[in-house]
């Protein structure tokens, strides 16, 4: 993991108004705080915290998946199969199979163009398309 690179990418988001932190534990994650959703009109949360794992071999490993707080009503409303539970920053998150760069609509992952700052756009898309 290249902390300096991730800090640069998250700094870009922060300057644009989106808070995000690198949480380094047994396994590092990026925690995007209060990401907007389209849920308000349906009585669902208007924002939600999202975690994304820092891939093994970063930046070569593809940024992939996303996790929502384990009690979030958005689970089951967002695209993707629910998977295992992870603990990030002392909180439990349910990982969900969301693969924007893995043959699921997005461009092939290229670390020269993509990072945690561009992945944010895919999270917005994901959280805007609730069922």
């Amino acid at each position: 993991m290249i902390r300096e690179r991730i800090d640069d990418e998250l700094g870009q988001l922060v300057r644009g108004g989106q808070a995000a932190d690198l949480i380094v534990g047994d396994r590092p994650f990026v925690l995007y705080r209060e990401v907007p959703t389209s849920g308000a009109a349906r009585g669902l949360p208007a924002t939600v915290d999202v975690v994304v794992p820092v891939p093994d071999g970063h930046p070569a490993g593809m940024i992939d998946m996303a996790g929502l707080p384990i009690d979030s009503p958005l689970i089951g409303r967002v695209k993707g199969q629910a998977r295992d539970v992870v603990v990030v920053d002392g909180r439990q998150f349910r990982m969900i199979s969301y693969h924007p760069h893995g043959n699921a609509g997005g461009p092939p992952y290229d670390p020269n163009r993509h990072g945690f700052h561009t992945y944010y756009d895919w999270l917005l898309t994901w959280l805007a398309n609730l069922t």
């Binding site: 396994r27 093994d56 070569a60 490993g61 199969q81 693969h99 893995g102």
Partner: protein, 499 residues
Amino acid sequence: MARQPHITSRGDERVAWRAGAPEQPALLELLWRRYPYDEWATFIRCGWRQLPDGLLLTLAALEAQGPGDLDESQGHVVLQEPYVLRAALNAERHNLAVGVVHSHPQGYAPRPSALDDDMDTYLASYFESFAPGRPYVSLIFADGPHGIDASGRVYWNGGWHSVTRVLLERQPVCTWISGRRPAKLPPSPTTKRLTSAFGEVADERLRRASVGVIGLGGTGSAAVEVLARAGVGRLVLADPDVFEPSNNERIHGSGGRHVAAPESKAAIARDHVRFINPACQVAAYVGRLPQPAVLDTLADVDVLLGCTDLQHSRLALADTARRYLIPALDCGATLEGDDGDVTAQVGQITRFLAADACPYCRGMIHPQRLSQELMSPDERARRQDAAERAVARGERPNPYWNAEPQINTVGYHTTIMGAMTAGYAIGWITGRFDPPFTRLQMNLIAPYLDVTDQTVEHEPPKADCHCRQGRGQADQGLRFAQITSPGHWPREIRLDIAT
């Protein structure tokens, strides 16, 4: 009065300085610009990496100079104050090591003069105020009758250290240590034919050379065999795997006893080198690039060979070539078949120099396959399970897992490709020849071998690729690295640490 910098280096210390294109030709052009009689100089910026037993410095940039920055009226180097101050002020804005390189007149020894001692004593102290904690390096180059001679010293951590190896890309250098030319080696009886073909100087260069080989399967073991027999003085070997009986068809140095009691591929290669050439020093790792201890040991190799068919290994090789300026050649071999027929026997050799396009620019990386290679065993199992469940639901499995292709190879093919690659490494080390391509592909069973070769013009780095940044910046260019070691990889193990 000249004050001789007091060199404190231990005998077993490695201090390497490396350069690569495009800075290297620009540097040499500057150094020789007043040849044959007069000297010239330039300030430089270098990436660096602290080694357990020394230091690696890599030329990242020349400090731009203009008219009047050096005194043209003098035959020796006189750096004018504005140039010195500019280099120092720039050092406050970057995180690289600083230094100066100057030439001695053609045919002269690259031995520091009393004036050089004065200059280095002054500059080391001066730059310490602007670049505290960073090394100051001073190098002397001279074009001699047998090629380039060079010497250097580094002020770092409060003491002076001799540069033990000066390494240029594709250009042999004779490194003088502490102002002394290395003693001539007696001719070797085991490499007499090679010497008669390439000359005594080439033989000596090979015996002083060091080559890294990453991957010790079919291609890597063949490369190691060729290099050991050619008399290469030191080999750094790395492979994470343990020998399996099916490897016996391809791996040079393996045999019945390994089938009966498998060892690591690194141990087999080490033992085979010692059998061929007991004088060859071997550093063998159960490990891989870019693991830190492997990288540390590779710091002063002349050439690095990549002999795996893994995407992450190829990417790490190219990244090492770019940031640490270690010239690299990657090779691979694969058989293609259809219904029992062998339809192609493809071999590939790819050059990775500091300024060459990276594997991404060359379209050599499949992002998902690369990610899968880097995943932990648990994550791979989870993904494969998710893919199976997706298929059961009637969905596509590939968002979760892409089937990994089986690379089919046979011993004669891997031996050809490994030996060819080692041959090109010998060409670089001896300065006798150079692969005329950046990437070569050939098919052993196609008419005229269906050879296609790429050059820099065919495969330029892409304008927006990170591979255009961080060149020669070593550890200071980490933010431009394209790969890091996953935390789940077993720690690299050096064999024979007791010896």
